[in-house]
Symmetry: C2
Subunit: 122 residues, 2 copies
DNA sequence: CGGGATCCTACGGGATACTG
DNA sequence: CAGTATCCCGTAGGATCCCG
């Protein structure tokens, strides 16, 4: 039932780092969309909806920097840029999807706990 | 190789919500420590190290609100308050630990990609 | 089309002091 | 001991305009 080995602090730091990296407002949404295949900038923009172009740029740059996505430029006119998950990005998608599945299944329980708590406080 | 069903937007939103909730600076560290068993306020404080008391309070309140942790007050003098993961909290710990394990194993690859990217830009 | 450069605001989060 | 109350700062992130 209970994991037998205590959680080591340094490991938790690594988790914390990754989660903060992936836990910003848009990263998982972008990664999720890219999980369906390569996409162009505005294609992503409209598929996600609500994201500013600045934040999409920032998010994509971050993913590229960490090796989760690749950027391919076609020097045509008008220009065309494709974004795609790398192997590392697709591997990341595995545990992230698992967490996502958990979130999907348990969002009701969280919402309920939240309502109870708020009611008790008020 | 490739997951056959496309990621639905609403599901990704749920993932995003949970990840933002859990992706703040301290939540996973607190949850990780609580994973070893019930703990008192200052016990947590020192076990984690570097966290301000304000943020520990905030983080614990958040966990309590979402039903991930429980708070037990012993009306003694001096007061004693125990925090403990709920069942929901322990269940959350499963996919989070998986992601954590991934982070631990792959932090090298991320660091490498990051260095390469930074070198190329500069 | 795919951004870069700016400006601006809200909020996460630290430091410090006080309280029951 | 376990908080609450303030003050303060940096940064995430939105809106807008411009460019090749």
């Amino acid at each position: 039932m209970k994991p037998r080995h205590p959680h080591r602090t340094e490991d938790c730091r690594a988790v914390s780092d990754i989660l903060q990296r992936v836990g910003d407002k848009w990263t998982v949404l972008v990664v999720g969309k890219l999980g369906d295949g390569p996409m162009r900038f505005n294609e992503l923009r409209h598929a996600i909806g609500g994201i500013s172009q600045k934040m999409l740029t920032t998010t994509l740059r971050g993913l590229e920097r960490d090796g989760f996505a690749s950027r391919t430029v076609f020097p045509t006119i008008p220009p065309r840029v494709d974004y795609e998950l790398t192997d590392l990005g697709r591997e990341l998608l595995v545990p992230v999807s698992a967490l996502g599945e958990w979130a999907r299944l348990n969002q009701g329980r969280v919402a309920e706990a939240r309502m109870k708590f708020d009611a008790t406080v008020a």
